[in-house]
């Protein structure tokens, strides 16, 4: 099958060898509606390179058994590979210790773990939890459930018209009742990169722990949890070229040890009688039941793959794509980019005058261009910008300048149909 995309001619050569990278992703060779697939829905889920697919096949064909249980050879191999994956993830985000890396089913699960394990133990009636307008529902709803249960209050950091958090307002929200902060690193709906290091430092000055929703950051930039000094950092495997159903919660060991378990079951215990159960040490205390072993190993292979390309090279290439797409789309009459933060990841939410996002999505799909349309699980953001929904193009390191051209041509076609 011919790959019709050519190397970017319109921009200076970027840090990534995109054509070589694209060859690793079998799905990118697909045609959709007779057109080459232009996959621009990476913020929803990224695609998987052959290296990760092969790793999953190798695990399933030669290494599968349950972990942390039997003495037989396969169980030992599976356990070793599973724990090796944990170490890979530890190094990828520069966690101090491997026991600070908990395997979850994804970002949502990670945040719920913190809500149940930390929130239900330490947040009390009258306490305040700070969130931001930009949050994904995954970092809103669990805290609302907790606030309702405990009689706590949620305070919300507003954003300006560019989609940037108002840091002055954030700082003003702090008082003696403030007990927790939850903030996303990168906005899935707008692409805004939030100044989390500064926000974490401010919260810590008030003795308040901070959870970072890093689902949209980890795939696109170097994340160093020690440098950020965050207390918790949550992200998903499937946005990181890994499998679905696997994710990570990083937590500082001292905090994780004080927390109560989220789920009860096997693996998370040291001893069980009907009188008393003694919980296992971290991270196992938080990994009840048989984990997604293949997912963890696949995610380990995914971060190996990304590390080989280099997160800095990935960030540079994606930034070039963002600049090129922004320059083109901001010149188009009737097209409005929603989210114009100075510090942005490669996400472009946009509206076309007089055309509903779902019609845009359907028509772009006819041209093989896959974008997300809807509220992006961030309805407060949609309300803030007075739109019911947006269309969103989100880029990955395997996207090309030619694909940006396809998106722009697709938008022109939408405007023509609805003229």
């Amino acid at each position: 099958m011919n790959d019709t995309h050519t190397a970017p001619q319109t921009q200076a050569a970027s840090a990534c060898d995109v054509e070589r990278i694209r060859a690793d992703f079998p799905i990118l060779k697909l045609e959709i509606n007779g057109k080459p697939l232009v996959y621009l829905d990476n913020a929803a889920s990224s695609q998987m390179p052959q290296q990760v697919i092969d790793r999953l096949v190798r695990y399933r064909t030669t290494q599968h058994a349950n972990v942390n249980r039997a003495v037989h050879t396969l169980s030992e191999i599976a356990t070793n590979e599973f724990e090796e994956a944990r170490r890979k993830l530890q190094h990828f985000i520069n966690a101090r210790e491997e026991r600070e890396v908990i395997f979850t089913s994804g970002t949502t699960d990670s945040i719920n773990l913190v809500m149940h394990g930390y929130g239900r133990k330490f947040i009390k009636a009258g306490d305040e939890i700070i969130l931001t307008t930009l949050e994904h529902h995954a970092n809103i709803v669990p805290w609302q459930m907790l606030a309702e249960e405990k009689g706590a209050t949620i305070r919300v950091v507003p954003v300006n018209d560019a989609g940037e958090l108002l840091i002055d307002e954030y700082e003003k929200l702090f008082n003696e009742r403030t007990k927790f902060v939850g903030v996303m690193h990168v906005s899935n709906a707008l692409g805004t990169i939030n100044p989390i290091k500064q926000m974490i430092a401010f919260a810590h000055a008030h003795g308040v722990p901070v959870l970072i929703d890093g689902a949209q950051a980890v795939p696109h930039m170097k994340v160093d949890v020690q440098d950020l000094d965050c207390d918790f950092y949550a992200f998903s495997g499937h946005k990181l070229c890994g499998p679905t159903g696997i994710g990570i919660l990083y937590g500082k060991a001292a905090l994780l040890e004080r927390m109560q378990p989220f789920k009860g079951g096997g693996d998370m215990i040291l001893s069980v009688t009907f009188e008393k159960t003694t919980y296992n040490t971290i991270p196992h205390k938080f990994e009840a039941g048989t984990p997604h072993i293949a997912g963890a190993i696949g995610l380990g292979a995914a971060v190996d793959y990304l590390s080989e390309i280099g997160m800095d090279a990935i960030a540079a290439h994606e930034h070039a794509l963002l600049d090129y797409a922004t320059a083109q789309m901001s010149q188009m009459r009737g097209v409005r980019i929603i989210g114009t933060a100075k510090n942005k990841a490669a996400v472009i939410s946009f509206a076309i005058d007089g055309v509903h996002p779902h019609d845009i999505g359907t028509l772009l799909n006819q041209d093989g261009v896959a974008v997300r349309t809807g509220h992006h699980c961030a309805q407060p953001v949609m309300q803030r910008f007075c739109v019911p929904a947006t269309s969103r193009a989100s880029f990955a390191f395997y996207n090309t300048m030619a694909e940006v051209d396809s998106l722009v041509a697709g938008i022109r076609n939408v405007q023509k149909v609805f003229a």
Binding site: N33, H358, D359, T362, T373, G374, P388
Partner: protein, 161 residues
């Protein structure tokens, strides 16, 4: 090249641009709110039943072109019809949009056949049927309906469609 034309036909684009019976009624005898929480589409249908006949009918809301055109054409199709006729057209429309019956077996569809193309776009079927589901709710004095509720028209088609 022109696949989208199967769905975005002139008549649909026209009804999207200039929706008929768009707005509200002063004191409707029947009214319902329809929502698709997955995409945010929202349609309100209001009508006056005079005896068994649908007198005035109006709709408004925030939705995509497929949903708006479907609502617009629905109002013109059922205005002046009896409640029973409107329900019959509704059932035929749902059967057509969900691909359960061929166009040839439908006798009340008429110009509404322009929506037959949605059967090939599963993600858009709900856009086309939301107004009809809302009309059905209004006629049966249900205040609000949702494509994702237990009365999801995809799961439980109205009537024996």
């Amino acid at each position: 090249m022109s696949d989208y034309k199967a769905l975005y036909q002139e008549v649909i684009l026209d009804h999207n641009k200039k929706p008929r019976n768009y707005g509200t009624l002063e004191h409707p005898t029947h009214h319902a709110d329809g929502r698709n929480p997955l995409c945010g589409d929202h349609i309100e249908v209001a009508l006056n039943l005079e005896g068994e006949n649908i007198g005035a009918i109006a709709f408004q809301g925030e939705s995509c072109a497929i949903c708006k055109a479907s609502a617009s054409m629905m109002t013109t199709a059922v205005k002046g019809k009896t409640r029973a006729d409107a329900e019959e057209i509704t059932q035929e429309f749902l059967a057509m949009a969900t691909g359960k019956r061929d166009l040839g077996s439908l006798s009340h569809i008429g110009r509404l056949s322009v929506f037959a193309g949605v059967r090939d776009l599963p993600t858009r079927v709900k856009c086309a049927i939301l107004p009809w589901h809302t009309l059905h709710a209004a006629l049966n004095a249900v205040e609000s309906t949702s494509t994702e509720a237990e009365n999801d028209p995809m799961q439980a088609p109205i009537g024996d469609a």
